[in-house]
Assembly symmetry: C2
């Protein structure tokens, strides 16, 4: 659940959104943000260490990809309590679908 801390930062959340659309190399990611390249590099490291992304080396480039497991883990945490914030109609619906 370390991934939650990784996603607490808005820049890192944006990086994840970009990578969910398509893999990208560090340089491309870097110039999408108004901070220095090393700053982005470190955000990538935090994401990497949390297991949220993985990098693949292609020549001098590092192509970053999303790793789904940690996102799944957060999703599973939410899942346990989802019924709490889902309103009754939605819950009924979910129940009926489970019955099908």
């Amino acid at each position: 659940m370390n991934a939650m801390a990784a996603l607490a930062d808005p820049t890192r959340r944006e990086i994840v959104e970009v990578l969910l659309a398509a893999p990208a190399d560090a340089g491309t990611l870097a110039h999408m943000f108004p901070i220095s390249r090393p700053a982005v590099s470190r955000h990538l490291r935090v994401l990497r260490e949390a297991g949220v992304v993985r990098s693949e080396i292609v020549a001098q480039r590092r192509i970053y990809h999303i790793e789904s497991a940690p996102l799944k883990e957060i999703d599973a945490w939410m899942e346990r309590y989802r019924e709490f914030w889902t309103d009754r109609l939605d819950r009924l619906d979910a129940h009926l679908q489970k019955e099908t």
Copy 2:
């Protein structure tokens, strides 16, 4: 999406789990954790300011409750990308249920 930062801390996540089971007053919450009462009080403040919890005053007690909106917001963020980490079988299942 400030709620994500609030939930980044493991103690606060535990507090949320406790409150999802049932509302509780500050003192009760405080002695569930191995840190001082003021430390818990401040965690509650962070959760309050992120809108994750709300407190109701009853005599000298503050009863804390979960506020569902911020959790819903995180859930919605996940929702946008859920299909990415859901395996194909699950996706097919979801699709068929939607058709029903």
